[in-house]
Symmetry: C2
Subunit: 208 residues, 2 copies
DNA sequence: ATGAGCATTGACCGAAACGGTTAACAGAGG
DNA sequence: CCTCTGTTAACCGTTTCGGTCAATGCTCAT
């Protein structure tokens, strides 16, 4: 990557990266044309090749950026330090949405890249992925106090259920392209409240 | 479409359709080559063009088949006649999985097709979609007896939550390509049991 | 054996798209 | 005026695309 790219104004950098995320998230690696990315970024193809020597380099730069930004934003959110499970999920989701605000197509790109099969890039994606696989979830769940929840509940199942619902919820927004972040956040807040209302032990029950 | 296609042996027809679903679900319409579909189906490109006069015709035939099969299988499952909400979801999911067994990439194709923007096909997709939008969900929810559930629960939220979780659950399997249907069905059964255990009023509570 | 009729394909076509290069242009600073 | 930097239109050789067609084999009644 040409270091001149990094000294570009922030918003121009983001425009180029977002263009890349968009095109690569909609097509396979081989069928994502550099010309299309350049057009989406509002620059000429030649200039795009000036910043990134070739397609592979751009693709892997996008992947690295994706990983770096995600890790950074997650750490910064403080979601891992939360002792309350729901508060942790809340901070995590908020971090995810902050990222999606800046790079709307990054989440879809990440999924596609993870399952990309083109030999020109698949090897390096898989290699770099090994380091990132999350072990936070299981650890997180071992910290919670079962007494806070309704008696007899399967906590593992509850966690998986919430995870799947979050994915399905996010997925619904990601699919339709244009996103209303306030609506998204508000909706997830309600989802959290719902979970709390059914999974947590009620105060009067606790008093009994 | 050449009527000779319909008199092909069932499994050959399915092989061709599945090849179409697979390729069109991975790429946009314009970037889904007929040659790739033919290869995936195990026939020559020329023969594919013998059955379907052109790409657009194949694409729309796939779309119509998708809609028809889905409606048929859902009706046949009896999920709409169930009075018990969870039993209805169970039958519905089983129908969805029967379809996925026959046409593994149909679900992904449907989503992609719905959001396809290529003017050559997007118009007809949207037009045909108008008829299919489901009104079953809301009606279904009005039939349930709130007394069956834990007191104070937001039934609409519960329904949306279950819907999102189902989507997220299915999505997890769809993504990784190779699917173990037994595992899939077993997992969903557990999810249903979990929902029943937390959302439904307990017998002893009812006895109080 | 023969030939009519059908399923199937390899080879081909013109057009378009691809990744990548290059020579030239525009504008700011001295 | 010249130079340096950011930027692009135009181009190149190659590949891929949708679609066609003549030719190949296959089946089966004569």
């Amino acid at each position: 990557m040409n270091p001149k790219f990094l000294s570009l104004p922030e918003e121009k950098q983001q425009a180029i990266l977002n263009a890349g995320y968009h095109v690569f998230s909609q097509n396979t690696y081989k069928k994502s044309p550099m010309s299309e990315i350049a057009e989406a970024a509002g620059i000429s193809k030649a200039l795009l090749f000036h910043y990134f020597h070739n397609k592979k380099e751009l693709y892997l730069f996008l992947w690295d950026t994706c990983a770096r930004v995600t890790v950074e934003e997650m750490e910064k959110s403080g979601c891992y330090e939360q002792t309350d499970l729901f508060a942790g999920m809340n901070y995590g989701m908020q971090a995810k949405m902050r990222i999606t605000r800046r790079y709307p197509d990054m989440a879809l790109f990440a999924v596609k890249a993870f399952y990309e099969k083109d030999p020109e890039v698949s090897g390096e994606i898989q290699k770099s992925m090994e380091g990132y696989l999350s072990v936070h979830a299981r650890r997180k769940l071992q910290e919670v106090d079962p007494d806070d929840f309704i008696p007899g509940i399967d906590l593992n199942m509850m966690y998986m259920e919430m995870y799947w619902a979050s994915e399905g919820y996010l997925w619904e927004f990601l699919q339709r392209g244009s996103m209303d972040f306030d609506e998204m956040e508000c909706g997830f807040q309600k989802l959290l409240d719902f979970w709390k209302s059914v999974y947590l032990k009620k105060p009067q029950e606790e008093a009994q």
